[in-house]
Symmetry: C2
Subunit: 548 residues, 2 copies
Amino acid sequence: MKVKKIAKANNAFQYPLLLKNLLNYSLMLTPENEIIYRDKVRYNYFEFNKRVRRLANLFKRFGIDGGETIAVMDYDSHRYLESYFAIPCTGNVLHTINWRLSASQILYTINHAEDTVILVHADFLPVLEGFASEMTTVKKIVVLTEDGIVPPTKLKIEGEYEQLLAQESEEYEFPDFDEDAVASTFYTTGTTGNPKGVFFSHRQIMLHSLGLCGTFGIIDGACRVKSSDTYMPLTPFFHVHGWGFPFLATAMGMKQVLVGKFEPEMVLKLFMLEKPTFSHCVPTILQMLVMHPAAQQLDLTRWKVIIGGSALPKALCRVALQRGVDIITGYGMSETCPILTTSFISPAQMKNDIEWQIEARTRAGIPAMMVDLKIIDDEGKEVSKDDQSMGEITARTPWLTQGYFNEPEKSEELWRGGYLHTGDVAVINEKNVVKIADRIKDVIKTGGEWISSIDLENLIGQHAAIAEVAVVGVPDAKWGERPHAMVVLKQGHSLSHEELKAFLGQFVESGTINKWAVPDTVDFTAAIPKTSVGKMDKKVIRGNLLKL
Amino acid sequence: MKVKKIAKANNAFQYPLLLKNLLNYSLMLTPENEIIYRDKVRYNYFEFNKRVRRLANLFKRFGIDGGETIAVMDYDSHRYLESYFAIPCTGNVLHTINWRLSASQILYTINHAEDTVILVHADFLPVLEGFASEMTTVKKIVVLTEDGIVPPTKLKIEGEYEQLLAQESEEYEFPDFDEDAVASTFYTTGTTGNPKGVFFSHRQIMLHSLGLCGTFGIIDGACRVKSSDTYMPLTPFFHVHGWGFPFLATAMGMKQVLVGKFEPEMVLKLFMLEKPTFSHCVPTILQMLVMHPAAQQLDLTRWKVIIGGSALPKALCRVALQRGVDIITGYGMSETCPILTTSFISPAQMKNDIEWQIEARTRAGIPAMMVDLKIIDDEGKEVSKDDQSMGEITARTPWLTQGYFNEPEKSEELWRGGYLHTGDVAVINEKNVVKIADRIKDVIKTGGEWISSIDLENLIGQHAAIAEVAVVGVPDAKWGERPHAMVVLKQGHSLSHEELKAFLGQFVESGTINKWAVPDTVDFTAAIPKTSVGKMDKKVIRGNLLKL
């Protein structure tokens, strides 16, 4: 096919989508709004803009002229937010170091990303000291502190952040450059192998921010976002750009409350003082906050929360709704910048009863604006929108990592067929609402059907005698795979395989599961293998079974 | 400077910003919502999507494989909306014909744009018939009717729109292509010369739509837009894409009410039946509606209106606010897609009194998201944000026409210095709120100061003896220009130049104007030259003065 193009005027400005556009807009609406760090620092957007420019000038003093990777290793802070703009807007790449990784993994990511400068919170200096001699590209280290005092260190450091900034000019003209320049990078870890580096361009983060404007701004319904919100992110800034909202919140001049090192008491204190209206976090953080004794008297009725990172448990959703929290689910991953889907509860639906709300708000939701999401079966065909047929979520959006840095094979695997493969299995209903069923490597493929191991675990776990259960697929000559259950009984209880089968029979009769979903084999065991972060290690479980 | 780029996976999809993304999203949220045309047609978004695809297939049947320019000459209708997507999403260019132009101008635009197909409402067939033999590129004509009956015509036509659509399949896979492909074109007229063609790419209209999401979605305050709104555009679709909102409204699955040929009674009837909550129009349309006898009992308290096209008179703003209309101003032009600025009234400010509201809501407002707006003086320097210093509005945004089609000289003039020159003179205050003062060709430049001819006309017009007044600048050896007034007295009144000078003296004393703003010369005359659309023709006035 043909398309028409028309000659541009020589002088016509071809506006690149750069993060500086968001930074500049932060002075437009409500620059008098404050950015608050714990009970230590508060300043307005005029000051924020000046400090971002001082930081940009510091990089210049370091001899950096763009194209370098500058890492940050900090809790969520105003300084981290400054780096979100100063690093990419000077044409450099922001590497957000995941300080929850092991020391050797952190070292790996620093070297792999080719970091030349690290801005590091004093708390993490010992980590860097531990492998200082092994850092191959780092030339300069700047220390971020709570009190201005740099602890004694063997590392060669440039100085303390505030002192260095104080020496710089607050004037800096951010340049224009190619919108495809990389703006950020960070690492995602699987159960095996080295962390993999994803990367996002200015264009991608801009379009992600604009996608959020559509999805959370124009769309009406539960948990939407406004420039008048007070924003308190509760996800680490190293985790997928704090889910992308810090860029948008800053552009819109929102009042921001940054909680630093996560301490429930500090968060609750800030909650009482600053009255946040919008947050996002993983379920465990929300659990910790709403269950905290000091939180029982808090008024949460003006609080909107997006839950992501792992499934929102229905029980937690219920507690949150009962406390008046406007809670929804978002779904995405490191590779996706992150947003792919989010709950859509229309104004009319907000009046539905709590059981309806729990069901709707714990689902992954509908695709965000500009997200082309396909749930595909083994043959690459889209599954029916019947809320039953399982398939892998694949996607195209303007903000997906275009590969893994220096990992060509894994990059092609990620993008096979021209769609990014999430590795997540889901169903979708006729209203386009997605429900995550399982990780694809854990789903059990038997006789052409996909069975969610998580669904089976939930059903089996309802038996009164069972403390814990893992379900995995085991190879089967006839059916491809068959489900196998690994069960830990509660102390003093007993259960036979036949009793368990009979128990599951009720779910077969009610149509909740098909009869071929009932596990053929059951191991009763004392403990289920876990990963370092406490998730069931199904890879190990499957490996052990194959060895038998 | 350097930037970092990282190799993409071979299969990674580089998502182009295409209008089909908006069309696809129209099925996501509330596809059961209806698009309504007068009291004649109503259907939901499922049907809309099918009809868009039927129209795409009709173009295919016509042998069109992209890259052609297809014109529409219609009132605001569901069919027009279908063409907004079917034409660009098939890789063709949508030419929205301004049927308010003279026949010779319409012919000029059809030939200049190189239209190959015209979709024309039966009402406009006589216009085409008048110059049929002079159309140089048009090969096919499709007729749109209110009742399915094509009136007798000498033109060779392909058939009636509905009958042609009925023959086509409702399946069509819109292709991917370069986001810089031209999606739309239309013509802007000055006081002299031929109409000039502006043009916008898919990328530009997408980013304009996303900019609206930020500006009208995330920003909180007066007159914002939601997917739950009922949208009733009251600007012609030929005028700068109906100001860009039809694209967004469709993507968000809003209920839409399209009024067709403008008849106040029909609009008011639809208002009562469909209860629109969001519209945009020029001041005269709003005036016509709120002053209409049948409108006096209408509840307007849930109606949001953006006024653009010309300045919102304070008196009209007052009437609208008193009726409970949430009214604001938008500013832009054909060359700018159109949005540049819009009123920002924060939730707190919405409680200010009506005098404050009138002042704030009649100003052009603050730059929209991603709009880099500079108000510059004669030397290209930005004026102070003192609400006094006048300069020309220049802009960079991702959605400005990159020139005039086949007019290289005018294109370079438009974009001189790398900023689009609007030709509008404005002041800006410390809160970034813009106020339009004049057209730059009408502003009077005297002794290094800029004086708004409109401001002077407003002051002079306050004299009880004066019926009408025009102020223009006349060349002056010493001062560059000096203001000259042309005055029409009310019947039975008299006034001398000295009396007028004395009258203006009060404004000099109160500081409203400087003493050098008082016109040196005054002509008392029977009539002021006007353009064909009734605006004062200052070009003619200046020309007449020079001849003297």
